[in-house]
Symmetry: C2
Subunit: 354 residues, 2 copies
DNA sequence: TATATTTCCGCAATCGTTTGCACTCATGCA
DNA sequence: TGCATGAGTGCAAACGATTGCGGAAATATA
């Protein structure tokens, strides 16, 4: 019974004694249809409560007006913000967005690629798993010339459009910032090197050290998934015995926050005894006391650019997809956790924290 | 040319000298097909790189295996967490999720309902706009017996499944908590009353006051969209002149945080001079100093229940949809911002804040 | 051997739209 | 009056899968 209430263009055609083609064309504002007919058709469509069936149209046109979005998870600040922007932007252009989470599981990511292909999405944007080094499960899209763009966690040597933050510069900037604030022994908590963006931050970290003639020590760098638990474990090692580092560059803010709290508990003063810098400028970084210096990656801008890239590719079907890199700028947001050592520190910090 | 690489079941059938029906059935594990044939078909499907076309199947079956999700925005902690859970859970059952944002605009919500219907989603979950009081734009779904469940921001008197937090209890609990901690003049910053959940929290607030014989004052309650800007404006009014309140019940944590920071700037001590409680248990509430007492609404549980409700409805097609309310419990998370006034307050607070 | 039963498979219609092509009218012009 | 023109419309074939029904082959039963 719910079946029979679904009106189709056939119903409209019968009601109006017109052919379905005319109705279809009228609804799509085809130029060959007279204004009078168009009006009649649209009025009747309204009257009957007609709703187009996107699947039927999609089948015929071989396009779904839906684009896929694969992110590790949408509950994290950074991907969530990007997803928001992408979704809103594409919606403005009449596209739906299927947001999917890989939960940082390569297996899930592969399955997702497969099923998203089945829905015949018109384009795909993905920020990959931490552990994706082989991207061949996305080949189907490339081979069939379906627009594909990667962002944030992007592949190397894979012929696609890429939108990413300037991670090398980020790593360099943070490290140099800590050095300029007086740090001489800087720990870096990095994500796993399977993810290129961490490789680049590490490169930035190392180069900044080198430039300032600070020796790089293997024992001062950690590669791990950037969870709270892992951060705590790293802390246990770092602070097992002196000498303690005087600076920490954490590759995300969750890690930075965890370390800050750990230091607090250990009665290490931040920033007097040890300075901490995070990454991504999570809202929590600004709020905690002392507030944490972090790197803004401008997720909104990144989202805009991803959406723009997708739309451009959608407008030139058949255009060969090749590697091209769109670098989104970063900006160091200086806060209390890495402030210079002043005597009247306590109040100064408070003020800056504001 | 990308067209011609798209293999269909027809290709498989030709290759194997079988009929398309057999191929279709084989791929769908129909019992009437011999195991041998099924294996042959699947092998060939693999060999040809066949990928099912979900749109074609959907058109024929009149189902898309896609469910719609409409939330105000996915970048906010609470809806983001719920969306994550719903998406993951439904994906386990082979459903895609179209996540859409209304951006708290009724107009966008209405448009969304329309276009989501066009894609023939199999079910719809929505957390409505702050300003949605008329829900008739969702009638199409009800009329066509498409599973519809609301969560968090839910309608009243609209015959659908509803999953919501216990907002009355939340409002009551927070207020009573503040009273028990010694507050006698409690401000409540509420969301707009067009949204039922705020109405209920207000009711809880009022009833707690009444029970404890504290007079309710109209001047002590604010109805506004719960943004940072609005919170600041409210502060300006509240602290324009004494007497200052000794307790604030903010209906979200963004507001609570803003007020806390405002008080800090005004040199009002929290919790000694004024106690603050937020709502939703945003991650920031735990991290700020002093940490903010808040109400956990268990978004993960809510997400689970929404997903469960959707799946149940999907499994009994044609079942009449009627109002039914699933109340997710809430829990007050006591933190430093509302701690009892102790003499050695400073250290106590720190400890609790941990 | 003849008949009844399974088992397995094919035919063809169907889902709702879109679109190339052909066709019918008016109308304009010579 | 005859003919080209062009605007407006209709026919029918797709798009790729599913499925009720009927039938052939293989097997069991008498």
């Amino acid at each position: 019974m719910s079946k029979r209430t679904e009106k189709t263009i056939v119903d409209i055609a019968e009601e109006l004694k017109l052919s379905v083609s005319t109705v279809s064309r009228a609804l799509n504002n085809h130029p060959n249809i007279s204004t009078r007919t168009k009006e009649k058709v649209k009025k009747m469509a309204n009257k009957l409560g007609y709703r187009p069936n996107a699947m039927a149209a999609g089948l015929r046109n071989n396009k779904s007006r839906t684009i896929g979005l694969v992110v590790p998870r949408i509950s994290m600040f950074f991907p969530a913000t990007i997803s928001t922007v992408i979704q809103n932007k594409l919606h403005e252009h009449g596209y739906h967005v299927l947001i999917c989470q890989s939960n940082d599981s390569l297996e899930q990511e592969i399955a997702l690629a497969e099923t998203l292909y089945s829905t015949r999405i018109d384009a795909l944007a993905v920020s990959s798993t931490l552990y994706t080094t082989d991207f061949s499960h996305f080949d189907i899209f490339k081979d069939n010339n379906i627009p594909l763009v990667f962002f944030d966690r992007v592949p190397k040597d894979y012929k696609v459009k890429v939108v990413k933050g300037d991670d090398y510069l980020g790593g360099y900037t943070v490290t140099e910032h800590l050095i300029e604030k007086g740090c001489k022994d800087i720990v870096h908590i990095s994500g796993p090197l399977t993810c290129n963006l961490y490789t680049e931050r590490v490169a930035g970290y190392k180069n900044a050290l080198r430039k300032h003639k600070i020796p790089f020590k293997k024992s001062r760098i950690f590669y791990q998934e950037l969870t709270k638990e892992n951060a705590l474990q790293a802390c246990e090692k770092i602070f097992a015995r002196p000498p303690y580092p005087d600076g920490v560059f954490a590759a995300n803010d969750t890690t930075a926050i965890t370390i800050l709290e750990y230091c607090r508990k250990k009665n290490l003063r931040v920033p007097e005894d040890i300075k901490i810098v995070g990454y991504s400028n999570d809202p929590r970084a600004e709020i905690i006391t002392p507030s944490i210096t972090s790197v803004d990656q401008f997720p909104a801008i990144m989202g805009e650019r991803v959406a723009k890239a997708l739309l451009e590719l959608l407008q030139q079907p058949g255009a060969p997809q090749r590697y091209s890199e769109d670098l989104v700028p970063i900006q160091l947001i200086e806060r209390a956790s890495s402030a210079a050592p002043v005597s009247a520190s306590k109040t100064t910090v408070k003020k800056k924290a504001k």
